[in-house]
């Protein structure tokens, strides 16, 4: 998971040397990172703050804490949730753990281009549908991957999505729906975005029990995901293209 490498470098600045020194991963650093990963995996939100402070105290940079500790653990959480090893409360506790850690780290991140958010996602359950289990899991996983997510809630009207796109300039707009009957409103949602001249500025995503790849293709939706973990991976792929 965390590799230790040694490199011989000549004529290097102190700043780079410091980073290289960390790259060699002193055992203490390795131990702290493993603790952060483990705490996130297990949902130990009560311990994470002290572990993050410890990491910062040891000079571990924020990007490493997030990418190799928090986000990496959330990826495993998502994978294990997909295979049925973990359940909804497990995922929520892990997400809460990451949130606690990020609450400490965010003030330190501001302006650091190396740790930019992956972008904003606007997500909601389609008009007429009141189910949000899947949507909430997608939000948890997407935040775990470094996205900022704006949750529009349930039974979201066409105009609310349009207004949110104008306000938040998201990279991705996600639609969730549980019933075929309510997913039938999806074309109207897409039309509303097109009529507002916003379609080309966003990537669309859709998910829900009856949704299939064919369903997504039928309406020109770029991202389809059968579960929350895959959805978050697809979001990352989409913004990194």
């Amino acid at each position: 998971m965390i590799s230790i490498k040694t490199t011989v470098i000549y004529n290097i600045s102190k700043e780079v040397l410091d980073k290289l020194f960390l790259k060699e991963r002193r055992p203490k650093v390795v131990a702290i990172m493993e603790d952060i990963y483990s705490a996130t995996l297990k949902g130990n939100y009560k311990e994470i703050a002290s572990l993050v402070k410890k990491a910062l105290g040891e000079g571990i940079d924020i990007k490493t804490i997030i990418n190799e500790g928090l986000s990496a653990a959330m990826i495993e959480v998502g994978d294990r949730f997909s295979t049925g090893e973990l359940y909804i409360p497990d995922m929520l506790l892990s997400a809460k753990t990451m949130k606690e850690a990020m609450a400490l780290l965010k003030p330190l991140i501001k302006g650091d281009k190396n740790i930019a958010s992956k972008g904003t996602i606007v997500i909601g359950t389609v008009k007429g549908d009141v189910h949000d289990i899947g949507k909430n899991l997608v939000i948890t996983m997407a935040e775990g991957r470094g996205f900022k997510v704006v949750d529009l809630g349930i039974d979201v009207d066409y105009s609310v999505f349009v207004d949110a796109i104008k306000k938040y300039s998201p990279k991705i707009v996600g639609f969730s729906g549980l019933l075929t009957t309510t997913l039938a409103n999806l074309p109207e949602h897409i039309k509303a975005i097109e009529d507002a001249g916003l379609r080309s500025s966003v990537i669309l995503a859709v998910g829900g029990a009856p949704v299939t790849r064919d369903f997504a293709d039928r309406y020109g939706i770029e991202i389809y995901a059968p579960d929350a973990s895959i959805a978050s991976k697809e979001f990352v792929k989409a913004v990194e293209k």
Partner: protein, 365 residues
Amino acid sequence: MIETKRFEPYEGKPDKERLLAAFRRKPVDRVPNWEVLIEDRHVEKMLGRFAGNTLAFGGDPAKGIVDTEVVRPMKAKDYVDICNIIGQDAMIIESIWTPYKREDENGKLVQVADRSIKNIKDFRKLKKPDQKDIDRVLKYIREYKEATEGTKIGVTVLFGCLSQTFYEFMVGMNDFMMACYEDKPFIEEILEDSTEYLIEFCKAIVSESVDFIWPADDIAFKSGLFLPPKFMKEMWVPRMARIMEPALDAGIPVMFHSDGKLDEIVEDLIEMGVNCLNPMDPYGIDYRDYKKRYGNRLCLSGNIDIEFPLSKGTPEDVEKDVRQHMEVLKPGYGYVAGSSHSIVNYIPYENFVTMINAIHKYGRY
């Protein structure tokens, strides 16, 4: 040539004994057809008049909590006509959500549906369901029983959302799920309180001679249970068993409804005494697999996918799918045919007609 415009004549009038025999995996003349909900546009086409949907007149409780002073079950005569048109053996009275209430700004008691109940303190401020809520349903049972006199159409009640009322409407999904790990006393209290009411409810409807009971609680999605099996066995299974007990003691069969993949809980349901599992969500359950594993212990119901073939397929696709289901599920009895969810307005009427006609055609023994 597939008939798609009208429901064809079928053999064997609606008869609750057919449904009950299917639940018990006993011989029947034909596979019963069963739908929890036929939406209003289909109903109107069937009856030639507006009559609401088969769960309600004046609202849509399948989509959320409704004002029970405004919304009532489908009128009895309309439902009898529906059953006769499609050969359905029983009528359903909806009482899905457990009615905890609080006063609104006008002092009127309304059911809690704003996900604001976050702890024991919040819960204890609510007005709990009581005999009035039960009496309301008993009144409809009597109405339906009166309307079915002279027929063999049965009556059941859809009720018992032990956890879903809380996670969907009263607490919220995330908070409910977290509380299952973090605030167990809260979860225990709300589940136990609800259980006590639902036991009384079940006793009452059994005394009113319903023909079977239909507890429903969505506890899973397509990849499995929402909560770990260990938690479910401790907190949910014993309570749902207690809720069903009055019916089982009276020899009345139990059909249980949950969406999703139920592999981790089916054995518990069988042990509790459930006779029939519905609707066998095709996004979590392979009906062939379930027939192999449980077909000699459980009646299986539903599974014809409302996305495809019912919404997006052709009538030929629908007939083929019904035939394929029959080939696997019909042998040995213990099969109640129907959709994987409900006959929503979005399903083309032709496909609904085709499905019913195909069930009658291929379902004869």
